[in-house]
């Protein structure tokens, strides 16, 4: 027994050492081959992926909740920088903003009234009363809402045509992104948790699609398919153009033997790396504290045996709701960070394969239930995802090199782009089958 344990812990140590060697090695190879910009670009997205994986790991690894709508929470978080950091559109608030706000309040009031009616109304009258309240509420909502939207969207549609934001610092958008995602998670968790585990998966699939659809279509909010461009960068990060014009910076870059263009792009990326790294470290610290606290033990007890945990007096549904909200908030935070890295919000870019299922692969490969595992999975899978785009066509070229030119060859070459999906699917299935505890297993 004790021998077993030593070999297991030695095994764990080996895994951690390997990971600690391989990840920096990949980064250095990329730096040498592709230059510092490529390497740092992958690292920055890798850090955001790691945060996303941490959030999903909270839900899956700690509590066994299957969230298939991660893309929605990321998109909702991504709305926050638009609302916070964009300058307000001149005259939009007076033209229709007030109406829109009033309409949203009316909508919320209608839902609240419906809930109250549902609780209070006696027996059968509910079946008529609740839908009546909802339908009337919806009609009133549309009557106030539609003229407001038209007025806002009519303001210089090619450049703005939306409400704009509040013109505040971008960093403030990060907690707001988390709060928005947490609100959506509360609503969805309240309905779907406590039922069969599949129902949460299906409900989150729905909320994910709907949030993305709202962002794509509500032009007054997010400019829809016209995208929001030029979202200000978060606090310490400057613009390349500005620092390239700075004489002191050019001198210092020359002192390091760098030309000002490379030096400025690298500096910007490094500052982002610092910001994201700080957030990631803070989240890991918090997650580790939580995991090893009595609360974390209770969570795992619930995950491993809901019935016995319930018999011990734990409110399983409440705890599930709590952790579902926490995990979604982390995803919203990462979504806001993602948009402040890109500087633009492209609602049509929120693809569930890329923003939901890829995150799942990260969590499973890294090791569900292990925070460090999620970080490693996030960075590693993001690296492979980027690289598969390059390697896929190269491998196809090799495979088809000896083939005579023709339909089959060109078809195969064209379909190399789909290799990533296949690889990710196979990785997920194989990991679940043969190594369900992942690269860094939970102890």
């Amino acid at each position: 027994m004790s021998g077993n344990r030593t070999s297991a812990s030695q095994n764990m140590g080996l895994r951690y050492t390997l990971v600690a060697l391989v990840l920096p090695a990949l980064f250095i190879i990329e730096w040498i081959n592709g230059g510092p910009n490529a390497a740092l670009g992958i690292l920055n997205m890798g850090l955001i992926s790691a945060i996303l994986a941490l959030g999903v790991n909270l839900q899956w690894g700690y509590a066994g909740l299957f969230n298939v709508g991660i893309v929605g929470f990321i998109a909702l978080g991504g709305l926050a920088p638009v609302l916070v950091a964009m300058p307000p559109t001149e005259g939009a608030m007076s033209a229709g903003g007030g109406r829109i706000a009033l309409a949203l309040l009316a909508g919320i009031a209608a839902i609240a009234l419906a809930i109250a009616v549902n609780r209070k109304a006696p027996g059968k009258t509910r079946i008529i009363a609740v839908p009546t309240v909802l339908i009337a509420g919806f009609a009133i909502f549309r009557m106030i809402f539609d003229p407001g939207v038209e007025a806002v969207q009519a303001i210089n549609p090619s450049a703005t045509g939306f409400l704009g934001g509040m013109g505040l610092p971008t960093l403030l958008a990060w907690p707001l992104g988390a709060a928005l995602a947490a609100g959506a998670a509360w609503a969805i968790g309240k309905t779907a948790l406590g039922l069969r585990s599949d129902y949460l998966a299906i409900a989150t699939l729905g909320i994910g699609e709907i949030i993305v659809a709202v962002l794509k279509n509500e032009e007054w909010l997010s400019r829809g398919v016209m995208n929001v461009n030029g979202i200000p960068r978060p606090w310490p990060v400057p613009y390349e153009i500005d620092i390239q014009a700075d004489a002191a910076f050019i001198e210092r870059a020359a002192g390091l033997g760098l030309d000002p263009v490379t030096a400025s792009t690298v500096l910007v990326k490094l500052l982002y790396t610092g910001l994201f790294g700080a957030v990631l470290l803070a989240l890991i610290w918090l997650s580790q504290r939580a995991l090893n606290s009595p609360w974390g033990r209770m969570m795992r007890a619930i995950r491993d045996n809901e019935i016995s945990a319930a018999a011990m007096g734990k409110d399983v549904t409440r705890r599930h709701l709590q952790i579902f909200i926490l995990g979604s908030a982390v995803c919203g935070l990462a979504g806001a960070m993602l948009i402040s890295l890109d500087g633009q919000m492209i609602p049509s870019g929120y693809n569930p394969l890329r923003y939901t299922f890829l995150i799942w692969v990260m969590v499973i490969v890294g090791g569900s239930g292990n925070n460090w595992g999620s970080v490693v999975g996030g960075v590693l899978i993001w690296y492979l995802w980027i690289k598969a785009e390059v390697w896929g066509p190269q491998i196809m070229d090799l495979v088809t090199a000896s083939m005579p030119p023709g339909d089959l060859k060109s078809h195969l070459l064209d379909s190399a782009a789909h290799m990533r999906l296949l690889v990710m699917g196979l990785v997920l299935i194989l990991m679940l089958r043969f190594s369900p505890s992942g690269l860094l297993p939970e102890r």
């Binding site: 066994g64 299957f66 298939v68 919806f138 539609d146 309905t191 779907a192 039922l195 069969r196 585990s197 599949d198 129902y199 998966a201 299906i202 409900a203 699939l205 729905g206 909320i207 699609e209 709907i210 659809a213 794509k216 279509n217 569930p352 394969l353 299922f357 799942w360 499973i364 064209d414 379909s415 789909h418 290799m419 999906l421 296949l422 990710m424 699917g425 196979l426 997920l428 299935i429 679940l432 089958r433």
Partner: protein, 335 residues
């Protein structure tokens, strides 16, 4: 006259499209609900099984067209359907053997199986893209209309047109045949009865000597048949695009849950309710209202939701079911 025009408009824009779509959803939801009843998990790969089968049907259709085979007024794809079903059945059986069988052996939690099915979804999606690409493909041939809009106007002298496409008629007829055959199979044959017994109480079924492997195999084959038929009919009716089938997943699940997971009758009812709500909520009622209420001048289009939000309808229904009646209309399996 106005009343007749209103009726025609209603039929043309709501009843015919919604029934067709409802039939397609019902076939899809039947597959989901059967897999749920027997294998006890929500199969997220079902949408991509539909896409794969439809892709296969399109390729066989092209082959048949190249050989000069056609069905006259009916789309050639109907002739390709059996081949596509056979191919897809082989795929899902191999998938079951390689992937799902292990989790049944170790008696994994349902949520693990759901997750595995997400992995399968990925792979099937990729295979479909390899096979046929990501472009929009129209593969309906044969006669386009049973009743054409102009023909109807000339024949009746009404102001409103009524169009009834061949693919719509075909969908309704095929779905009716499939459902009848399925119910006959489940209620009258030995294998069908053993499937229902297995779904009701697994342990009892095993005690009475039902072969679980056979039940599972037959379930997959039937689910593949339903999925490919639903997918091909949907593709004929609209057009084929690999990614659209992923978006069908939500209405299909909503239909299955609304009817009660595990209940075939519920899946059919759910499919039609979802389809009629979706079409009804996103339809601009102005025309019908103008005919029905004399002297009525509508200000807007009288459209409750724009068509981009059509799946919000299935979502709202899904949430309402989860809130008020998680077992569904027809008393599905466990909550």
């Amino acid at each position: 006259m106005d009343f007749l025009n209103a009726l025609v408009a209603l039929t043309n824009y709501i009843i015919i499209p919604a029934s067709t779509y409802g039939a397609q959803l019902a076939l899809g939801a039947l597959g989901v609900t059967l897999i749920y009843g027997i294998l006890r998990f929500s199969n997220f790969a079902h949408g991509d099984t539909m896409a794969f089968g439809t892709g296969l049907a399109i390729i066989v259709t092209w082959g048949l067209q190249a050989m000069g085979v056609s069905l006259g007024p009916l789309p050639t794809a109907m002739l390709a359907l059996p081949f596509a079903i056979a191919g897809t059945a082989v795929l899902v059986l191999v998938t079951d053997r390689l992937v799902y069988a292990h989790y049944r052996r170790v008696k994994a939690k349902p949520v693990t199986l759901v997750m595995v099915s997400v992995g399968v979804m990925f792979v099937m999606n990729a295979v479909t893209r390899f096979m046929i690409g990501v472009d929009d493909i129209k593969f309906a041939d044969g006669a386009r209309f049973v009743i054409s809009a102009r023909g109807f106007k000339e024949a009746t002298g009404l102001a409103e047109p009524l169009a009834f496409r061949t693919t719509q008629l075909l969908t309704l007829v095929t779905a009716a045949i499939m459902v009848a055959a399925l119910f006959w199979f489940l209620n009258r044959t030995r294998t069908g009865k053993s499937m229902r017994a297995f779904s009701d109480n697994e342990d009892l079924a095993l005690l009475s000597g039902i072969n679980p492997n056979q039940v599972v195999r037959v379930t997959w084959i039937i689910a593949a048949g339903l999925a490919v038929t639903a997918g091909t009919l949907y593709g004929l009716d609209k057009s084929f695009k690999a990614f659209n089938y992923f978006h069908l997943l939500l209405p299909i699940f909503a239909a299955a849950i609304l009817g009660g997971l595990g209940s075939p009758l519920g899946a059919i009812a759910g499919g039609f309710i979802i389809a009629f709500s979706e079409v009804g909520v996103t339809y601009a009622w102005k025309k019908v209202a103008t005919y029905m209420i004399p002297g009525f001048e509508a200000e807007g289009l009288l459209q409750l939701l724009s068509t981009e939000y059509k799946f919000a309808v299935s979502f709202v229904i899904l949430i309402a079911v989860l809130l008020f009646k998680p077992t569904g209309l027809f008393k599905g399996k466990a909550v």
